[in-house]
Symmetry: C2
Subunit: 412 residues, 2 copies
């Protein structure tokens, strides 16, 4: 069984908006062992919609349309599919009742225009929408191919898919299961990751291995197939283990966890607390740490000492040191780490100072130079980095390296 996704909406053909629902659906379908072989984005245009569904149905057994089920004249998915499959549209009284009930529960009256959403093609099943008015539609063609129409807003699409479409798809899915495993690494460039693991995965077609690089991070995705989930999982885990041995400490997660979540988990496990004095990252380290729910248990806070004045007045770095060594220096990074630790009473103090650019560099300390220090009660560990890229990329890489320094400290 093969699937295609058609994302519908003229706004998806503007420079401002991407279809993101297809990522979710692809993940759900992969779990059933159903690969997505093509995706199409098409506007709310009757003829184009009809043609897109016609072509997709020639190629694939399952065609999922997303969006265009709203109540207004702009929304044409229902009509185009009914026209293509030569089905008459009828007002479905059950749908009308469900919609009226929804409006009543909110103390509002349903308007006439909503009745369009109650039109169901002959022979189609409708799928309840727990979070909106538009029902989903499930149609079988005479060639036994499936057309599934879902509403576009993710809070409507996801529960409808899971509660009403998945149970219908499961018995049709192949016996084959597909399992995805992820390894996430920090601190190694993509070429180094590739060099270490290529000999291990290159000749293996199951699992299939993909590398995805972002600033300061490389993710390795393993997609394994098997006759049942257990077998696929075993295959994925076997290869993952071998790759992990080749990558060593650079692997920080074996699942969806972010680096800041992993750092938080380690801090929690050790009952340790952390405070940060950061300059060039401008609050990014603190922001990432506090983006994790529960972070108040281990993150005390920090100082964004963007100016020299704050480094001295608020964190307590000595003016003499700032003058002698310069704001971007290993000595200042160490002092930031030690002082913020003492000032806040945290177990660990992290200091970051550097030049994010685009200006401020010198031949001696070019843009991208970043010093990171981590202090505990006994000692300070420091690193010097030279990151490449634009301001945003440099800041992100610096935050990655800073979080990673904490992670590796806690690993031991």
């Amino acid at each position: 069984m093969k699937a295609e996704i058609i994302a519908i909406g003229s706004e998806l053909l503007t420079p401002f908006k991407l279809d993101t629902n297809s990522l979710y659906l692809t993940e759900q379908l992969e779990r059933l062992g159903i690969p997505v072989v093509q995706k199409t984005v098409v506007g709310d245009d009757h003829e184009r919609l009809k043609a897109a569904f016609a072509e997709a149905l020639k190629r694939s057994d399952l065609v999922i349309g997303i969006g265009g089920l709203g109540p207004t004249q702009d929304d044409r998915t229902r009509e185009a599919v009914a026209d293509l499959l030569k089905r008459k549209l009828h007002r479905n009284q059950e749908v009308v009742a469900a919609m009226e009930e929804r409006f009543r529960a909110r103390g509002r009256q349903m308007s006439e225009v909503n009745l369009r959403q109650a039109m169901v093609p002959a022979g189609a099943d409708w799928l309840p929408n727990p979070n909106g008015t538009a029902p989903g539609l499930w149609l079988k063609t005479k060639e036994e191919r499936i057309v599934l129409l879902l509403p576009g807003p993710p809070p409507e699409l996801k529960p409808m898919f899971e509660e009403h479409a998945l149970p219908r798809l499961r018995p049709r899915a192949p016996r084959q299961a597909l399992v995805t495993k992820v390894l996430k690494t920090v601190g190694l460039p993509e070429s180094e990751v590739e060099q270490r693991i290529a000999p291990l995965y290159r000749e293996v077609t199951n699992p299939e291995t993909t590398l995805l690089a972002s600033p300061g991070q490389v993710e390795i995705h393993l997609r394994a197939r098997g006759s049942e989930a257990g077998e696929a999982l075993r295959r994925a885990e076997e290869l993952a283990e071998r790759l992990e041995q080749a990558l060593g400490e650079a692997v920080f997660a074996r699942g969806p966890e972010t680096l800041e979540q992993v750092v938080g988990l380690y801090l929690m496990m050790r009952g340790a607390t952390l405070a940060v004095a950061e300059s060039c990252t401008g609050g990014l380290v603190a922001e990432r740490l506090t983006n994790v729910s529960g972070s108040s248990h281990y993150f005390l806070g920090g100082v964004v000492c963007y100016s020299g004045k704050l480094k001295s007045k608020v964190v307590g770095v000595s003016d003499a040191l700032l003058k002698r060594k310069g704001e971007v220096s290993v000595e200042v990074a160490e002092s930031l780490a030690k002082k913020i630790r003492r000032r806040t009473g945290a177990v660990l103090g992290l200091g970051v100072t550097g030049i994010a650019g685009p200006t401020g560099g010198s031949p001696d300390k070019p843009v991208g130079t970043v010093f990171i220090s981590l202090a505990d009660a006994h000692r300070v560990k420091s690193e010097k980095h030279r990151f490449l890229g634009d301001r945003e990329r440099i800041r992100w890489q610096a935050a990655q390296a800073a979080l990673d320094l904490v992670r590796r400290k806690l690993l031991k």
Copy 2:
């Protein structure tokens, strides 16, 4: 003239990766007055690629393929298009020379495998790649339709498109120009924005108006057509002005600027400086402010006082006040604003305290309660908000409201 985009690569059919190049290309094409009518994502598969290009060429005059031009066997775009258009592939010595030069300049030897990238279909023009090895390709079909093949990495695609494809497209573009104008608002819910401006834009089809809402922000996109750019621009600006009058101070930008850029600009214009003491936003306000290049001129820094201890020890809020009023209170927000201002010597001090959730709420102060204060030498202005949504959404809305408080102060 109508365009389609085909994004090529099996990784774009996984749950992990979206095609984003098409947004950039759509914007570029719209400026030429060429609408994008369909987008397709297809894997690196010879037959599927061939079929996708064949279908697109039936519908559209310009078909842009992105990706699949690499040196390995996985990359099949060149071959599929040559096969479809029945063109022989020849090794092009100019391309070979350009590639060798590139390798030489980096002190490396070109490998055999790269020669695949020098294969050019008969009758095709090749486009130089300033940032990579794969050349672009420009082919004309016998029906005078254009196939443009571009490399996938954005740092290669963008300069190639602008330097080598745009000059070829311009003379073919319709006389019609398309201009997009954006108004960005902060602080008003989408329904309120809609209510105020719907009567003004609803009946107008040129410009076409679209609303895009994100947490704490609503963008209004106006797309105007005209026989030349000046006319389209005039149409867009006329409507934009009327909408702006209806929206008043809520409009913070008339272009691509972010809220933090606008705040930075205002601070710079007034020669003012800002410091922040933020709790529930966890560094997000500082991170956004410092993400703007040049922010060191007006942003002194701040304290992420995630724990009560930091509020008192580092910012200087009195322990008695914290105990009496609670960490989340208007009094503590005011004290944060005043103390951080005095401690750093900034012209303006901003204080944020609240409950981002998911835990920590009470009947009295539910999750989403946020107090924001802004202090200057003479007085403090404070606001109480109640934001809805998950942790990330609440934090983002709180940061929006905090930045907006600074903006409105400086407007006067």
